[in-house]
Each structure stands twice: as structure tokens, then as C-alpha cells.
């Protein structure tokens, strides 16, 4: 695995608090035994609604339908992003679409850990910073947003804001150990020792 210390690219602003994983990936697309092709259904129902309104001359298309944001690698969000269902299908689809970092006010814990396992950092900024970054990108979708885990800053269009990321996740990204399985398999004797000391494992 490779280290993740910087994600730099165009960004996609996804406004709204508590955007749940049912909206990111509606349950009917979980009816499959692989993750292949999920990216085609990202926000499918939200997109259909927003795009229909836009076609009727009322508002903008959904950011994931808007050609202005095609090829974005940084997702900008508000608070409690990815709440609800633990479905990894949501971050899998974002990753397959091309998202390599998420910048927002806060994240659901399960979404956060699922993203870590895919090598996608979810970094926190203040509400003001999230709003400012979104406005910047909405005005000029060509703006490059630069997320640096070494400097713990996000920079765009001459502005710069501090980011927060738990130390453990930061270490995993910087050392390239964000896929934990290898580490977890390293000390089988220690696992056996703990299991052997648990009364419910040994049959009381």
C-alpha cells in the first residue's frame, strides 16, 4: 500500500447536513455480490430530482451530474456526512467515481473508518471553512483544492484552513498502513492469548 500524504485536484461541493448513506447509495443498488459499477448510481435518486428541476429551469443540476465537476477528486461536505447505514457501498462508489479525499465539518464514524480502509482521508474543517471552500469552487469549478496531511492544511484559491484528523488515521495514511488486515494478522499468538483468557471463549 502506498502512503497518502496529499490529495490535490478539482473539488465537488455537496451541500447539506446529515447526508446519509441511503442517499449516497440507495439500498436497491446493494443487491449485488460485488462493488463493480456502483459509481454509476451515486446519489441516483437525489440526482434525478435535482436534474429534473434544473431541466425545468429551476436551480442547478446535482453536483454529481454537473459536467463542471467531472473529474473532481476532493469532495466538500457539511456536517455528519455519511450517517446511517454502515454500507461500504457508499464510500466504495465515491472512490470508484474518483474521490480521493473528503473535506467537511464532521463525519459519521462508520463512514470515516470505511473510507480509511479505502485510503480516502475524511478531514474536518470549521463550518465557515467548509462554506468558504464550497463558495470558491461553485464560483470557479477549476479551482484546485489541496489537502495536505503532512501540513494538516487545506488550501485553495489563495486561502488556507487548518484540518483535523485523528492522529491514528493520520499515521495510517502517512505510513501507508490504511488497510489494517496485514497488521492485524501479524501477531497470531497474541490474539490466541487474549481469546484463551476470555471465559466465554473457553466455555466458562
Amino acid at each position: 500500500m502506498s502512503a497518502v500524504d496529499r490529495v490535490s485536484g478539482r473539488a465537488l461541493p455537496m451541500r447539506g447536513d446529515s447526508i446519509d448513506t441511503d442517499r449516497i447509495m440507495p439500498a436497491r443498488f446493494l443487491r449485488a455480490i460485488t462493488f463493480t459499477g456502483l459509481e454509476a448510481h451515486l446519489f441516483e435518486d437525489d440526482r434525478r430530482e435535482a436534474d429534473a428541476r434544473a431541466n425545468a429551469g429551476n436551480g442547478k443540476p446535482h453536483p454529481f451530474s454537473d459536467p463542471a465537476y467531472a473529474g473532481a477528486t476532493v469532495l466538500l461536505v457539511n456536517a455528519n456526512f455519511g450517517c446511517g447505514s454502515s454500507r461500504e457501498h457508499a464510500p466504495q462508489a465515491l472512490h470508484r467515481w474518483g474521490i480521493r479525499a473528503v473535506v467537511g465539518e464532521s463525519f459519521s464514524e462508520i463512514f470515516f473508518s470505511n473510507s480509511v480502509a479505502l485510503g480516502v482521508p475524511c478531514v474536518a474543517v470549521s463550518r465557515d471553512a467548509a462554506g468558504a471552500l464550497m463558495t470558491l469552487v461553485e464560483k470557479d469549478p477549476a479551482t484546485i483544492v489541496d489537502v495536505s496531511l503532512s501540513d494538516m492544511r487545506v488550501s485553495a484559491g489563495g486561502t488556507s484552513h487548518p484540518i483535523a484528523l485523528p492522529a491514528s488515521a493520520r499515521a495510517s495514511f502517512l505510513t501507508g498502513h490504511w488497510d489494517a488486515t496485514g497488521l492485524l494478522l501479524r501477531e497470531p499468538e497474541a490474539i490466541a492469548r487474549v481469546a484463551g483468557a476470555l471465559p466465554y471463549v473457553t466455555g466458562f
Binding site: 447539506g16 447536513d17 446529515s18 446519509d20 441511503d22 442517499r23 440507495p26 439500498a27 436497491r28 446493494l30 443487491r31 449485488a32 455480490i33 460485488t34 462493488f35 437525489d46 434525478r48 456536517a79 455528519n80 450517517c83 446511517g84 447505514s85 454502515s86 454500507r87 461500504e88 457501498h89 464510500p91 466504495q92 464532521s106 459519521s108 464514524e109 462508520i110 473508518s113 470505511n114 480502509a117 479505502l118 485523528p166 492522529a167 491514528s168 488515521a169 499515521a171 495510517s172 505510513t175 498502513h177 489494517a180 488486515t181 492485524l184 494478522l185 501477531e187 497474541a190 490474539i191 487474549v194 481469546a195 483468557a197 476470555l198 471465559p199 466465554y200 471463549v201 466455555g203 466458562f204
Partner: protein
Amino acid sequence: MGETLLEKVWRAHTVRTLPNGQTQLFIGLHLVHEVTSPQAFDMLRARGWRVSRPDRTFATVDHIVPTKDQRRPFLDVMAEDMMSALERNCRDYGIPMADLSSGRQGIVHVIGPELGLTQPGMTIACGDSHTSTHGAFGAIAFGIGTSQVRDVLASQTLAMSPLKVRRISVEGTLGRGVYAKDVILEIIRRLGVQGGVGYAYEYAGPVVERMTQDERMTICNMSIEGGARAGYVNPDETTFRYLEGRPFSPRGDAFERAVQWWASMASDRNATYDDEVTLDGATIRPTVTFGINPGQSVAVDERIPSPTDVPPQERTSLAEALEFMGLAPGAPIAGTPVDVAFIGSCTNARLSDLREAARIVTGRHVAPRVRGLVVPGSQAVSHAAEREGLDRLFRDAGFEWRGAGCSMCLAMNTDRLEGREICASSSNRNFKGRQGSPTGRTLLMSPAMVAAAAIAGEVVDVRTMIPAPESPAVR
């Protein structure tokens, strides 16, 4: 200094500290279902790994199972594929499975406790966010994603960051017609849908202590809806009595030794908490959600708030919710017409839930044009309900009586809302599109309130429909 249950369980399961500072935690029970596991098994195969502890892994099928015609092969080809993949994976890796012919199949969070697999002091993981349900037994239970399912399959451990503990005490007593569902909806309304991020919730106080295991499961189930990845209740006599004689519970002398260990894992009296919150049970009323997240709720006799009633940072969300729901700010929630009534899900489809709902519908009939659906949480619940004649009661009242599964909670089978239908639902999420129609609308409430709404054809205060007190079960 005393310790909380979380601290004790954490310590007993710690394998080592990982280089990034996280804890490698042994997982005592891994529950597996058909939606979030097939990709994990594929990753295992691709890397040539085995399942580390098939003896500590248990599978069932719940999300995609049809509830109407369960004959194999399923008419739904994709559902059949997912079912077959789980069967193949369980066979290949020697994992025990409660399949449709076992008499033990059901929603994973209903069957774990029912079979006695879920026990106090354990760590439990499952690729489903409602795994927090198992905390009702004093287990620390996490919902995880598919990559973490792979981690647990391969190593029987997880890399976890420590959680803080917030003790939520519910004091006093609950009024008649107020249920565990109302308590957790009130907790989420007060603390917010992200108030629990970084915390495990410890539910305590006289109201919780008097609750049955079924009721405690309803509370712990929705911890995740408040942002808390885990929630638990300290194990006590109620817990031990529930577990005695279950298929996977220890027996004889081993049971006595187990009870001692289980009791020792409860939070110490002098434990310290990162935060403490107290609610007065007497002030909690039957509660209904009006919005698109489980924190957007009001008591049944309250009015739907206006964007001007709430703090500025909530206004946009509230306006979006009201627009989607087609509900007017300032209108009473009671009287909102419903099209569908769904009694089911891992939150509220256990035998006691069906009994409470049945008491409301007895001698009454579902309103014209309302589609009523009762989906028991497991085959065992279904059989027990049938032995009591509850199936007949529901059918006579105009409900459909279905086979066990997740059903219309998330509509991965053919049970779903159509168009903009409004559903009174005993499930856990009112997210946009959650019940299968992108424009479908969900009102979360207790099973008794769902039953009442089905009869009235609109949201109604269940307290006006409860039969006169006749037994201690009536509050």
C-alpha cells in the same frame, strides 16, 4: 477508581496497541449476513486467507429475503444470487448458518439474542449499523463496513479507536402508552443525530432498569441514529434470566459461573463518565418523526416546528425536511394521513412488540386504503406469535402477516412504498427514499402507534386507543 463496562470489555479484549495508536481488539462474536459479506469473502479468497474463527462466526439471511413466497429458488434472481453466495461462503469456510429451513432464521439482531449467541461482556461486530442492538446485553457491539468484515473474518480482530462513554439516565416512570421507542426517539431528539459521535451510550436509570431485554434492545438499536457507534445497558438479573436455557447459552454449573463473570463486567458504582445526561421518563410522550432524519420528531400532541422555531444552523435541514415530507410548519402531527403501516425491523419486531400492537388492533380494522404489513423479526418470533394466535388477530384486522426479514425497513426485497406514499413505521430510519420509493415518506413511531395509525388511517395518539389496564404489562 471504578471502571465502566466499556473499559472492562475493552481491556479484556485488547490484543495490542497498533503502530498508529489504535487498539487491536478481539471480537468475540462476528455476525454475518448476505449484503455486506460477499465482497469480504472475495477479498479473503483473493489474498488466500482463511476464516480465522468460524466457531465465533454465525450467519443468517435477512435483508433480501422475500417475506411472501420464500420457496427456493427465489423469484427475484438477484436475491437468489446473494442467498447462494452466502450459502457457498458458509459451506466453504465452515461457518454455521441459520437458513430459511432452520427455524432459526431472522433479522441478525433479533436472532443473535434469541439464540443466546449474544452475551454480556462480549465484543460483537457485524456489517450492519444496527449491531448496537446487542449492547442491550452488556456487550460492546459495533457496526462495521465490508473491509472491516474482511478484517474480522481473517483475524477475528478489529483496529479500533477508544470510545468515550456518555451515561444517559432515564429517571422516574413512563406513562401509559409510552414505549422504549419513544424513549430513544426523545433521546435522539434532545442530543441530536450526531450528538453521539465518539461516544458509546450507557443507558441507565430506573426506567431502563425496569425494562425487559426486548425494550432495552429497541433503545440500544437506535444508538447509531444518535451518532453513537455503540450503546449498552449494564447486565443484570433481567439479562441473566433472559439468557437461561437459550440454545447457545452456557448450561448448568457453567451458567452459574457465566452469571458471575457477566455481573462482574457491569460498570462499577464509582465509575466515571465522560458525560452524563438525565431525562425524566414521566415527560416522555408517544413520539413521531416528521422529517428526514430520526432526530426530527415531535410528541404526538405537539405541532410540527417552523424553521423560525429552531436554531439558525438547523433551518436549512428543517426546510428541506418539510418540503420533502409535504408537511406544513405549525400543523399538528396528529391527523397526518397514512397510506401504509409497517410493523417490523430489528428495532421493533420481537414478540413483545407484536403483542403490544395486537392489543391495539384487536376487534378493530385497518382503515380503508391503508396497507398494513406485519413482518416478524425472526422465524422464532413468528412461530411464537402464531402459537398465541397473533397472526389471526392481525389478519382479522386486515393486516398482511409475512415471513421474517428486514422487509420494508430498507426495501431490498419487493416490500416497498410506491410513489409518495406515507408510511407509519416501527423501523429506525426516515431517510429520503429509505423505504424503497425515492419520494416515499416515513413516520417513525412505536409499534403500538403504528397499529393505531393503521386503524385510524392517520397519526393518532395511541393513548386514546389502549384498552383499560388489565395486567402488569399495561403501563
